[in-house]
């Protein structure tokens, strides 16, 4: 073995002024933990919103191009015919778990005394609930069923039910334009009351089955097909295949449709990006300052080492390693701290209050992403080493005589 233990030398030097080193390492630890916790929170939020968006619309949405780009003059103007055939072809793809039809329409809903605007969605209830799980919180009554009922049934949003004084079993009337432009009405029975967690949605949203919706709109079409895949990772490949399979139609992925997801991501990226940058800078400044003080104190020693034949590059490497011990050691401690907090939150969930525009809180969750941990630690290591080397550069390159005369 023919190497001087530079790392040991760096460690010994870092321990010279223990209080200063501890303060520096602690700030690096707290900074790293803050970055990792903030990015873990953002990542967890992204993952949650992505899952929610994909679960709501489907990983892929297949429709006529005009359905995505133009407004309809009449309901189902840009809808799909022969939905069953399309569905069967899509289900032949091994990555496809389920294909759900969807009929979007709007109109009025009335209890006889009061009418109000509704946003309605016709779904295939059995498949929808099977694939999405409990995506709606049932507040009263039961979920819709796919099997034909004696009378058409709907589920109302909580706010809408309150507005219409409706409860399970109540009779209401849906009013809407048909595909031909005529006005149509249909009596329905309330099967259940739900909450999406978004009060504004709950004041307008109505779920019914596809057949009821088509009956009201007087057209055997659907607005779009939601394609549910086995995993999020399968989206790009499946999108390309579906695109090739139906060249006359257009397929969009969940992210294109998920406006809320993209808005939150844009906002969080900016907020946490700026926060991370500030924390990074603080840690770099603290380590740089500690290293600058240490280097000034050791100018004469650096001169001695240069006189003994140490090349400037060797000293720079040694001092960069010292920065690494301080900043990198602190960063490693910070990563452990962040990991510990994340695991604790997983074991002992903390409930967060509802975000603005929502009625339900959510459990605080911090994602543990090895690549984020690795990237943060690596960035921290490289930056503190670079900063230390930059700070040391002047002293290391000053004339040896001058360094030896330093008092």
């Amino acid at each position: 073995m023919n190497h001087f233990p530079w790392l040991k030398f760096a460690w010994q030097n870092a321990r010279r002024n223990r209080r200063r080193s501890w303060v520096t390492a602690s700030i690096a630890a707290l900074g790293t933990a803050a970055i990792l916790l903030a990015s873990g929170f953002a990542l967890s939020t992204y993952q949650g919103l992505a899952q929610m968006a994909a679960r709501s619309s489907g990983h892929l949405i297949l429709a006529k191009p005009d359905q995505f780009h133009k407004d309809e003059d009449t309901p189902l103007q840009h809808g799909l015919d022969q939905a069953d055939e399309l569905r069967a072809r899509l289900l032949a793809d091994p990555e496809v778990r389920q294909v759900l039809p969807r009929v979007d329409f709007s109109g009025l809903i009335s209890n006889g005394d009061k009418s109000t605007v509704m946003m309605a969605v016709g779904i295939d209830p059995d498949s929808e609930f099977a694939i999405k799980g409990p995506f709606l919180k049932i507040k009263a009554g039961e979920a819709l069923l796919s099997s034909p009922q004696a009378s058409a049934e709907v589920m109302l949003g909580e706010g809408l039910a309150r507005s219409l004084k409706a409860e399970p079993g109540s009779s209401l009337t849906l009013l809407s334009s048909t595909a031909d432009g005529a006005l149509n009405a249909l009596d329905v029975r309330v099967r259940g009351v739900f909450s999406t967690g978004i009060p504004d949605m709950d004041k307008r949203l109505v779920y019914t089955d596809v057949l009821t919706a088509q009956k009201l709109l007087n057209k055997a079409r659907i607005s779009s097909l939601g394609v549910f895949l086995r995993s999020m990772e399968a989206v790009p490949g499946a999108q390309a295949r579906v695109d090739a399979l139906f060249p006359e139609l257009q397929v969009q992925n969940w992210e294109t449709q998920a406006f809320f997801y993209r808005s939150v991501r844009d906002l969080y990226d900016r907020i946490f990006g700026a926060l991370g940058l500030i924390i990074f800078l603080i840690v770099i400044f603290v380590v740089t300052n500690a290293m600058a003080m240490a280097i000034i104190e050791r100018t004469r020693e650096i001169g001695t080492l240069r006189a003994l034949g140490t090349l400037p590059g060797q000293l720079l490497r040694s001092l960069a390693l010292e920065g690494m011990v301080l900043g990198g050691g602190g960063a490693a401690l910070g990563a452990l701290l962040a990991l510990g907090v994340s695991v604790l939150l997983y074991l002992f969930p903390v409930q967060m209050p509802p975000p603005p525009g929502r009625s339900d809180g959510y459990p605080l969750s911090i994602a543990i992403d090895p690549s984020v941990y690795a990237a943060t630690l690596l960035a921290m290591l490289l930056l503190v080493m670079l900063a230390s080397a930059l700070v040391a550069r002047k002293t290391v390159h000053q004339p040896v005589v001058q360094a030896l005369a330093h008092t």
């Binding site: 073995m1 001087f4 004469r300 001695t304 090349l311």
Partner: protein, 237 residues
């Protein structure tokens, strides 16, 4: 003298700038230092002793003139080249020892060998021998701050000589020592110089030291005084 010349200065000039003033530190100094020789430089402060040490130690550059190490001219502008020459051929003993406080005694002595790229086993062997020769083997694991001034200077001597340099630059090596310790250090330097054949260039005000060197050169105002004391190599007691 028949010993080969280790270090030679030929008509070396050096000036320093102090504010707006230019101070001549050396004014055409010629000097030869031979293998195994202990050469003492004396003179009042500002006479140029330290400047000669710095130039011969290749940690400073002359304005004019030529410096030769083992017969080869040294290009002081070549930072890497002079660093490697210092690493391989020159040892330093400083007035204040300048040991690295976070390294043990053995690590301090090992450091020049590591820089020279010697194998681990050979380094261990040489460090042991060097510490034995200065009587500090039992202190190998100690930190410098656990040693007395004399012991620290002996560590510095071991560090300077462990790589078997051709030239040792010693700046007031006994200035921080009491007379008994200074005497021990002097004896040690003489013994090692003659045993290893290293040339010692020593700047000193200490008459106990000058009277035991092979040659004494007095400096005044950056020039060598004509009254040079010279003894045959090994004649000084």
């Amino acid at each position: 003298m028949s010993q080969p010349v280790v270090m030679e200065m030929r008509s070396v000039h050096k000036t320093y700038r102090l504010g707006e003033h230019i101070v001549p530190a050396l004014q055409g100094v010629d000097l030869q230092l031979r293998e195994g020789e202990l050469l003492a430089l004396t003179g009042p402060s500002g006479s140029g002793k330290s400047t000669i040490l710095n130039l011969c130690g290749l940690i400073d550059a002359a304005d004019r003139g030529e410096i030769l190490l083992q017969g080869r001219p040294v290009d002081a502008r070549d930072e890497t080249g002079t660093t490697l020459l210092r690493r391989d051929a020159i040892g330093f003993i400083f007035q204040n020892f300048n040991l690295v406080p976070v390294m043990s005694v053995a690590e301090n002595v090992d450091y020049p060998l590591f820089l020279a790229g010697l194998p681990w086993a050979e380094r261990q062997q040489r460090v042991r021998e060097a510490l034995q020769s200065v009587g500090l083997l039992e202190h190998a694991a100690h930190r410098p701050d656990a040693l007395s001034g004399g012991q620290r200077q002996r560590v510095a001597i071991a560090r300077a000589l462990v790589k078997r340099p051709r030239l040792v630059i010693a700046d007031e090596p006994t200035a921080s020592l009491d007379s008994g310790t200074a005497d021990q250090v002097l004896s040690l330097m003489r013994e090692l110089a003659h045993r290893q054949g290293a040339a010692f260039l020593i700047a000193t005000h200490d008459s106990r030291l000058t009277c035991r060197c092979d040659r004494v050169i007095a400096l005044l105002d950056g020039r060598i005084s004509p009254h040079e004391t010279s003894l045959p190599l090994g004649a000084a007691a």
